[in-house]
Symmetry: C2
Subunit: 91 residues, 2 copies
DNA sequence: CGGTATCCAAAGTGATACTG
DNA sequence: CAGTATCACTTTGGATACCG
């Protein structure tokens, strides 16, 4: 729960869940404002916690894909109702 | 979402939801460690946000009850699956 | 009983610049 | 493209003491 309380954490799970395998740039683009340092460390947190997987391809230009693990998928499902509701009340 | 990301916020909603009208002391007792200043300010946050109501009775000794508002109740329902799951993985 | 006031330490975040 | 390093800044939370 402490991890989920960090900024963008819950949203990140759902964004990755929605996009499917998601590249760093796509994730970055899904948020209005977030510095690369913050986004990076939050992604690391979620990978370390076992909610996201990170796959790096040895290509030029580099490509990295994040995806939900099974745990992450389960978490995403449980976050859905909360985030939907939160999004609605933004207005 | 920023509010919910503050420490104890999500748990507080569910604790109050579980106890029904809950007195300050009961809420305090539901947490292992939390300073009164922190708990107070978090309760205030949730009252201000419209998720909790606060009723103060002019008695001696003083009695204060917190309860979910309709919004808080809806929020509580949406938090349930998340917190249940989080509780399970504590082990 | 149910808090508030004050002060402080720690954590989180972002801007900027740079790298493989 | 996908980050990391550094550093300064802001926010948060906790300890302690006290109040209506």
């Amino acid at each position: 729960m402490e991890l989920l309380s960090r900024r963008y954490a819950m949203q990140l799970i759902c964004v990755v869940g929605a996009i499917g395998p998601a590249r760093y740039g796509e994730i970055d683009g899904a948020f209005e404002d977030v510095s690369s340092s913050t986004l990076s460390s939050r992604l690391d947190d979620l990978v370390d916690a076992g909610y996201l997987s990170r796959t790096q391809y040895a290509e030029i230009p580099p490509r990295v894909e994040y995806d939900l693990t099974d745990d992450g998928d389960e978490l995403c499902r449980r976050l859905q109702p909360l985030l939907e509701w939160a999004a609605d009340r933004e207005q």
